[in-house]
Amino acid sequence: AQSVAQPEDQVNVAEGNPLTVKCTYSVSGNPYLFWYVQYPNRGLQFLLKYITGDNLVKGSYGFEAEFNKSQTSFHLKKPSALVSDSALYFCAVRDTSNQAGTALIFGKGTTLSVSS
């Protein structure tokens, strides 16, 4: 079965410091991995994805993620956090076991809190 784990419910970081939001996955085939961000009472916004190619993926708002196949991880990173980055972050993996092959399996989310 496909699954995504986000081991931290909350990550706290001071503005200007680097941040990491962790994600590990389990899939039977090749993983398609995504990060989305959700602000309060808003829908999800796409940040970045890994399909194939370079292990370091760059996305929106200065975020990047590193795909590590041996550790089955896809951690989200940013070199310098902003207060406005405070939000709920979801890691997701593409469910290729689904007949249509299109369902996203989401992790339970990690709340990022950036203090000024």
Partner: protein, 114 residues
């Protein structure tokens, strides 16, 4: 701007009273999805349409139905809402089903069941 629109943003319905949530898109995407997100939980896919082809997730209750009368609109019908159906309902679209195409989400409709 091209976007995914959901109406209403907040919906209150009574236990057992049918309710319909609406989603429209100006992106002209082929695929439209409905997700259910309960409080402090991850979004869970209910079903999706590829054009007019409907695909139901195996564990989606029969109480949930969907209609897509044209490319732009998709509706979520809850025939007899229970208290456990209170959640945020998210509509999303993608150009194709390939993972090369990310999903674009609407702002969601928060459903309260009294």
């Amino acid at each position: 701007d091209a976007m995914v629109i959901q109406n209403p943003r907040y919906q209150v319905t009574q236990f057992g009273k049918p309710v319909t949530l609406s989603c429209s898109q100006t992106l002209n995407h082929n695929v439209m999805y409905w997700y259910q997100q309960k409080s402090s939980q991850a979004p869970k896919l209910l079903f999706h349409y590829y054009d007019k082809d409907f695909n139901n997730e195996a564990d989606t209750p029969d109480n949930f139905q969907s209609r897509r009368p044209n490319t732009s609109f998709c509706f979520l019908d809850i025939r007899s809402p229970g208290l456990g159906d209170a959640a945020m309902y998210l509509c999303a679209t993608s150009r194709e089903m390939s993972p090369l195409y990310e999903q674009y989400f609407g702002p969601g409709t928060r459903l309260t069941v009294t």
